[in-house]
């Protein structure tokens, strides 16, 4: 089985979209997907988190993305992620040190988070991945 490993280091809409699109597309294609949310990316795993902003560099284009979401031409990032999770082949890891930095605990995170993990755990999951990307 092919595998994709992603490090997600931003909670902004424009970063979450490519991450979950690749992960879910991989999963529905029969691949495994391992996602490690670290630094600001960890904030995207907080219960009920809904990103409202794109990255600062691209704020001028923010309305285009919001219009695409509102019209339904682009599915919401959480909808995409949940379809991937439903395959059972998307695994979500929360960076333990980022969790500590934000003063959060595992109880603050979405139910679909598989575990709190460190760098060595992610490396172990990612070492046999054919595709590895850092999204930030």
């Amino acid at each position: 089985m092919s595998k994709i490993a992603l490090i997600v280091a931003s909670e902004r809409l424009d970063k979450l979209f490519p991450a979950v699109t690749l992960a879910t597309t991989a999963a529905i294609s029969g691949w495994e997907a391992e996602l490690f949310f670290t630094f600001w990316g960890l904030l995207a795993l907080k219960k009920g988190y809904e990103p409202s902003e794109v990255s600062l560099d691209y704020q001028a284009y923010q309305d285009l993305l919001k219009e695409a979401l509102a019209s339904g031409s682009m599915p919401g990032w959480r909808t995409v992620l949940e379809q991937g999770i439903a395959t059972g082949r998307v695994k979500i890891y929360a960076c333990s040190s980022s969790l500590g930095m934000f003063g959060l605990t595992a109880d603050d995170l979405e139910e679909y988070v598989d575990s709190v993990a460190g760098a060595a755990t992610f490396l172990g999951k990612a070492k046999d991945a054919e595709v590895t990307l850092f999204v930030s």
């Binding site: 597309t25 529905i28 029969g30 031409s73 682009m74 599915p75």
Partner: protein
């Protein structure tokens, strides 16, 4: 070709059409034909790649103006 299931993903951009197709295929029975309608210009190549990877059979792609229709036979 008469499909068993038709999925309309017109005016949805990537990954919408493929997600809609995968969902319909997962609900269909082996041997059934799912028709996907899409306007995303990436849909034909994405569906071709997805079918090759998952083993579902891409039977035909037709195009009428901006609308692509792709017929996929669900594998067993």
């Amino acid at each position: 070709m008469k499909p068993d299931v038709t999925v309309d993903a017109t005016y949805q951009s990537c990954p919408g059409p493929l997600l809609a197709l995968a969902d319909a295929v997962s609900r269909a029975q082996p041997g059934q034909v799912v028709k996907l309608r899409a306007t995303d210009p990436a849909a034909p190549s994405d569906v071709r790649e997805w079918s090759a990877g998952t083993g579902h059979k891409l039977l035909e792609i037709t195009r009428d103006g901006d609308i692509y229709e792709m017929y996929i036979e669900v594998s067993g």
